[in-house]
Amino acid sequence: MAETTRTKRHFRWTTGLIIGIALMSVMILIGLLAPLFLSEAAEKLTANASQGPSSAHWLGTDDFGRDVLARSLVATRLTLVMTAATTAISVVGGVLIGTFIWLAPPRIRNAVLRVIDAAVAYPSLIFALLIAAILGQGAWSAVLAIAIASIPAFARLTANMAASISQRNYVSTARLLGVPGPRIITRHLLPNMAEPLLVLTATVFATTLIELSSLSFIGLGVQNPEYDFGRLLNEALVNIYSQPLQAVMPSIMITIAGLSAMLIGDGLAAATDPRGGRKFGSVKAASELPASMRADREALVEVDNLTVLTPNGVPLVKGVSLSIHAGEVVGLVGESGSGKSLTAMSIAGLLPEELTVRAHSMRLGELDLLKKNDPRTLATSIGLVYQDPGTSFNPALRIGSQLTEVSRIHLKQSGKTSFTRMVKALADIRITQPELRMKQHPHELSGGMLQRAMIASTLVTDPRLIIADEPTTALDVTVQADVLRQFRTINREMGTAMLFISHDIGVVQALCDKVIVMNGGKILERLTGAQLAAGDVKHPYTKALLAATPSIAERKTELVAVRAEDFTFDEITDDALGPVQAGTVQPETERLQP
């Protein structure tokens, strides 16, 4: 909501928006015309009181012999006028407060925001009742009551939007240049908030319509002889047993008015926030695909002619075949969008469901990965490590309960056993205070620590394959080295096969026995780790990748060099900057030592 569009987009006319505008136009037309032609029938007292439906009075008459239908139609004008006035007052008031507090000194701004926050917590109807009690009953005091009661919420929203805009560069620039405050508001803040404000205004219209008529309904709004929808329904409630029809028409009218305002609001919101629909597909073994020559029956993992299609049939992975032997580390390299992660996630069986997976065969040991497998077998045979440890842990749950989830659910270990085992596993990878960590929440741990814990957790089930999808990308360079070292140790000591995905060819060459280079959903080149290390590559794309990526060793020297400079030369005068950088890097370097 707070985001405003930077690029001009085409206005999208949704069905809801069109229906909403059409209904609202009809309402406005009724509001304009009905009082001109139907006032007589609606307001003149006749002797035909409380009649049922007839050809003269389609919905019957009320206590005083007035036509129910005519009254419902004539009431449209007052209802709409009152709602429009209320909306206008609360929008103008809210926008004024919401924008002008950004010109006030921070202390005043925070104080006002706090008061607004406190006010927003109360149901606005309670405030409206209070104001109605002060001003007395009547149409215009109801308008003021609802308008004033809605101002805090609208001011809060405007303040939120203004906050995000006032932090943009052009606003700070304008401030630095000494552009006067009101001008910043009219030139920068308001134009950039126009779209969301319009949506909000439509929504506020819908709520004030309901609230105003509620006030009239409980007898505190519009008073006799005036009438709006709420007042009509209030009168109808008295006669609800004898004349239930009297309640129907005002109900329909208010519902249509409310619905159309809401449809317009939703439609405007959709018009400014387009989102496409998606379909989902299924996993299929496509026998029409030719068997690949490269498939390897001896291997632990065998993927033969894997294709991944979008719901529209666009291929994202185009016939990839690969094999991983027991104890082997295979690297999958390519830039983002090359299909490497899709390939890995197809093997793991974790692709988004709308994608279609086809392959001649795809297996892990004797496990056919194209079929639906027993969750326990899958969970214990494939260990998964993801890119960003900051987001791959559930923020609401404690680390311990997450790390031991597979042991407890699939290996049926007791909470205590799995806890002790996990603590030991964490201690093994030199995570300090493992027991404390287990009881903490993810946001309390560093990314490197989380990632190493995740790797450790995959090991407790003794998996046959570990799939690591860019496990070092989100980490600092020094922590990267640490995590890579952990992978290497696991492979050396436990002989676990690994599929290691990275866009960084330097990371891969440090770890992998075999490297597969992918681009555009296809395999471009297959190399051994030794070939890669020796620079013995043929495909120009691989060459480009190699040239573009400094190796880890190079990067480490780079880092050391930069730091060495910091200490040898005294050219850096900014004292604040130096120690902070050193402080953030140093703990990580300590971990590198052993």
């Binding site: 405030f127 002060i134 949506v199 819908a206 008529s213 129907v248 409310g258 989902f280």
Partner: protein, 348 residues
């Protein structure tokens, strides 16, 4: 009643301005998260209470013209007006009036009703249980129905599946949000009390007379919260940590109940606090439809009678209930998701 159609508004209310609450535990580093949280929330609650007291106090002085004349009515004698002026304390300077008002509040003295010549506290004591019963049941029904319904729809429509369910869910909930509660309630009366004659139309005499008011009160909030839950569910289902949980091949119930639910509850409850507090306003309307002898019915009568002490008392009580409700939501939030303890989403 007050907040139903405003999902956009509510979500936006809680999307904090960037940079406004950065550095979660800054400044309160030495305290435990709950202690720091308690400190901050106490400040917020105090501010809310002060606002409530100030606003209710100014109700009488702000009455246009001479409040005493307004209260006494047009045909009152000078003596009557003077008596009312005396009883309202209007002869004193404003700041003394305020001190008197606050002092009385501390001793639990809310004044005397003009209309009934009984103490306001005793009126509230007899009416509050009815409103509390209605609101509490409504809130329970709302939470019990809206969260599972929203989650189930969110799960069934994940990744764009079952478009028809998505569309019909959106239309149905949208419709009930757009229809005012009193219209829904009136239609409930027409259908169940008049046409079908299965439930009483009004009063609080029997247990069955609770059904229609509770349904009328809950439908709109159920739809509002179910929409929030549905949207949050689809967002949470796309998160990385859910992919992690799927990678652990957890059984569906465990995946959704243990891994998805706590996370979607954060936003849901933040918004639900407003919606649930809004149900207090809704109760006022519903009480008037069903002739329910609670605070809502009483305050409307009091406003018509210009019975200011009663109005003040009821608004204070409803306001306190709203504060308590918000506080409760925040505490539950803190338990479910300790990150909220650091600030950010807390409000009020």
């Amino acid at each position: 009643m007050t907040e139903p159609t405003m999902l956009n508004r509510e979500s936006a209310l809680f999307s904090n301005p960037p940079g406004a609450t950065k550095g979660p535990r800054g400044g309160l580093r030495n305290l435990s998260p709950w202690a720091g949280y308690g400190l901050r929330r106490t400040g917020g609650v105090l501010l809310s209470v002060i606002l409530l007291v100030v606003v209710t106090f100014f109700m009488v002085p702000l009455i246009p013209g001479d409040p005493a004349v307004a209260v006494a009515g047009a045909d009152a004698t000078t003596e009557q007006i003077e008596a009312i002026r005396e009883s309202l304390g209007l002869n004193q300077p404003l700041h003394l009036q305020f001190l008197q008002y606050v002092g009385n509040l501390f001793t639990g003295n809310l004044g005397e009703s003009f209309a009934y010549s009984t103490s306001v506290s005793s009126i509230i004591a007899t009416k509050l249980p009815f409103t509390a019963e209605l609101a509490l049941l409504g809130i329970i029904v709302t939470l019990l129905l809206s969260i599972p319904a929203g989650m189930v729809v969110g799960i069934l429509t994940r990744g764009g599946r079952r478009k028809w369910l998505d569309v019909s869910f959106g239309m149905l909930t949208g419709f009930f949000q757009a229809v005012p509660q009193y219209v829904i309630a009136t239609m409930l009366v027409v259908v169940f009390a008049i046409v079908l004659k299965v439930l009483p139309a009004a009063g609080a005499a029997t247990l069955t007379s609770l059904i229609l008011p509770v349904v009328g009160l809950s439908i709109a909030p159920i739809c509002s919260i179910a929409r929030v839950v549905r949207r949050e569910t689809s967002t949470v289902l796309e998160q990385d940590y859910l992919r992690t949980a799927r990678g652990w091949r957890l059984p569906p119930l465990r995946l959704y109940a243990r891994h998805a639910l706590p996370n979607l509850m954060t936003t849901t409850l933040t918004l639900a606090g407003l919606i649930l507090a809004g149900m207090l306003g809704g109760a006022i309307i519903i009480e008037n439809v069903f002739n329910w002898p609670g605070l809502g019915k009483e305050i409307v009568t009091a406003i018509v009678n210009k019975d200011y002490p009663v109005i003040q008392g009821i608004i204070l009580v409803l306001g306190f209930l709203a504060i308590i409700l918000n506080l409760l939501v925040d505490v539950i939030l803190g338990i479910i998701d300790p990150r909220t303890l650091g600030g950010g989403k807390s409000h009020g």
